[in-house]
């Protein structure tokens, strides 16, 4: 098996506060990994570091076999576009339509040539996007059951709706790896199960790898092959979900 993500002993600080203190793990192609840990344990920070959105102060991170700290901007972009990220705060463009926000997911694909520069411009809004992109964006919205809101402005959505738009945008990337920060946090129980089910289906059928963080222990166990627990910047548990002691885990993290 090939490692898709490897983190070797990474450390990260905000100012003088040490947030990550020597985190190491590897994720193999097609594997799904859940991440649990109390508020402030460093889950979101770890995810940001994996994408090189925050600089790490020690250690090494590779994505798809390339070490990301020393990449040229264009190389970093081509690594990043293979990762569909769903942020904890959803991060949609507020004044644009849902459909435009989903179309944006295609912006990262092929940005290397001059021709793609022109086609990139057509992805600024669904109004000017090509029909192939528009149709694919609608398919992605259908997968998260939001097709009927395609023309709503993103800042009029509820928390759970914008969460699902963010997921559709990540699907639009046709990613090899999905990283989702509490993807079910603002969803009702049924929508949450659906979204988690969608992710694990993508893993099984399209060979997509998955990392997601959650505060829902049963999600963490049911929808991942492996789980890691974080505690103040360190990984305290790293084990296959088949072999976890649910009672002990719940006692500590729920």
């Amino acid at each position: 098996m090939v490692a898709i993500v490897t983190a070797e002993d990474i450390a990260m600080r905000y100012g003088t506060m040490s947030i990550l203190k020597g985190v190491s793990f590897a994720l193999e192609a097609g594997e799904s990994l859940s991440l649990i840990g109390s508020n402030g344990a460093g889950k979101s920070t770890l995810i940001r570091c994996l994408l090189s959105l925050e600089p790490i102060t020690a250690g090494r991170i590779s994505l798809f076999g390339r070490e990301i700290q020393n990449l040229k901007p264009s190389e970093l972009r081509s690594s990043r576009c293979r990762v569909g990220v769903v942020f904890q705060e959803h991060n949609l463009v507020p004044r644009l339509s849902v459909l435009s926000n989903v179309v944006h997911g295609a912006l990262g694909r092929n940005t290397q040539t001059f021709g793609s520069m022109i086609s990139g411009i057509t992805l600024w809004s669904h109004i000017i996007a090509g029909s192939a992109h528009r149709e694919r964006a609608m398919e992605c919205l259908e997968r998260v059951n939001l097709a009927d809101l395609a023309h709503r402005r993103a800042d009029t959505l509820s928390g759970g709706q914008s969460q699902r738009v963010a997921i559709a945008r990540a699907l639009m990337q046709e990613p090899d790896l999905i990283i989702a920060d509490e993807p079910a946090a603002s969803l009702d129980p049924i929508a949450g199960e659906e979204v988690m089910g969608l992710f694990s289906e993508l893993c099984r059928e399209a060979g997509v790898s998955l990392i997601f963080s959650t505060h829902n222990i049963s999600h963490a166990v049911d929808f991942a092959d492996r789980m890691m627990a974080m505690k103040s910047g360190k990984i305290s548990i790293d084990c296959p979900t088949g072999s976890v002691d649910l009672q002990a885990l719940k006692a500590e993290y729920a």
């Binding site: 972009r77 942020f87 463009v93 990262g108 940005t111 520069m117 990139g120 600024w124 945008r169 990540a170």
Partner: protein, 276 residues
């Protein structure tokens, strides 16, 4: 039991507050002294104002204001509007492009492009800090008397105004959506137009409307130095002490500015209505 102490209400602010007020009073006194402001002088010169008003009214008297003259003023007013419109439009486009490069961390990594960003900022400041009358004098010298010089002046003035405020508006936009697109491998150029500009649009439109209002007001004055428009007519009538016709022109300017301001306020409200 609560451990943390409740912070004092004012801390040590009263002393610095009192010092600031004293400083403000001192500076005010010093400035009044130099400004030559004098109530007595103002009241003493009221006879000149009265003379102006007596001669200015009634402004329209068919023996004195011919239709031809009025027609000329009307054309000059239209020209003023056209100067302001074209100058603002060109200034908005150029100002927007410069603002993209002047905003922190927008087109380039914030660490890398400091020199370019700084130079663009300086250029915008230069356009903004040199007063429009000075620009008008320069452009009259370069391209000659007339509307073109006025249009160029308005353009440069608008670049200075919009370059600064456009840049600030784009810097102030919540960058989380831009970051999400960046995490998906999008190019900066695309991120700017897909995420930052849409989020900044209401601010950009508001600023543009303010720029147009400002341009209308300043285009009236530009005629005074020969840069086209109705100001030139006003200037010559005042020199001839033809206060009645000058009053007509002042009335026309007043109407133009008022209409443009009302329109701009209406459009601004329209834009803001769609925002929460």
């Amino acid at each position: 039991m609560r451990r943390a102490a409740v912070p004092p209400r004012f801390g040590n602010r009263p002393i610095s507050g009192i010092l600031a007020i004293i400083l403000f009073l001192l500076v005010s006194a010093w400035c009044f002294d130099g400004s030559g402001f004098s109530i007595t002088q103002l009241l003493g010169s009221s006879e000149y104002l009265l003379r102006f008003l007596r001669e200015a009214f009634p402004p329209i008297d068919e023996h004195r204001l011919t239709f031809d003259q009025f027609h000329r003023y009307w054309l000059a007013l239209i020209e003023t509007f056209q100067m302001a419109f074209v100058g603002t439009l060109l200034g908005l486009v150029i100002g927007f492009i410069l603002a993209l490069f002047a905003s922190r961390g927008l087109m380039f990594e914030s660490r890398r492009s400091n020199l370019l960003q700084w130079s663009v900022k300086m250029l915008i400041s230069l356009f903004r800090t040199v007063p429009d009358l000075v620009w008008a004098i320069i452009f009259v010298m370069v391209v000659g008397l007339g509307a073109f010089a006025g249009t160029l002046t308005i353009m440069v003035d608008t670049i200075g105004f919009c370059g600064r405020f456009f840049a600030e508006e784009m810097e102030d936009v919540d960058r989380s959506s831009a970051e999400a697109l960046s995490a998906s491998g999008a190019r900066r150029f695309d991120i700017v137009f897909a995420a930052v500009v849409p989020a900044a649009t209401p601010g950009l439109i508001t600023t543009s409307l303010f720029a147009f209002e400002k341009a209308i007001r300043s285009s009236v004055v530009l005629g005074l130095v020969g840069a086209g428009g109705i100001g030139l007519e006003l200037q010559s009538l005042m020199n001839w002490m033809a206060y009645d016709r000058a009053m007509v022109i002042i009335g026309m300017i007043f109407a133009l500015v008022l209409v443009v301001e009302q329109l701009s306020t209406y459009l601004r409200k329209l834009v803001m209505k769609n925002e929460r």
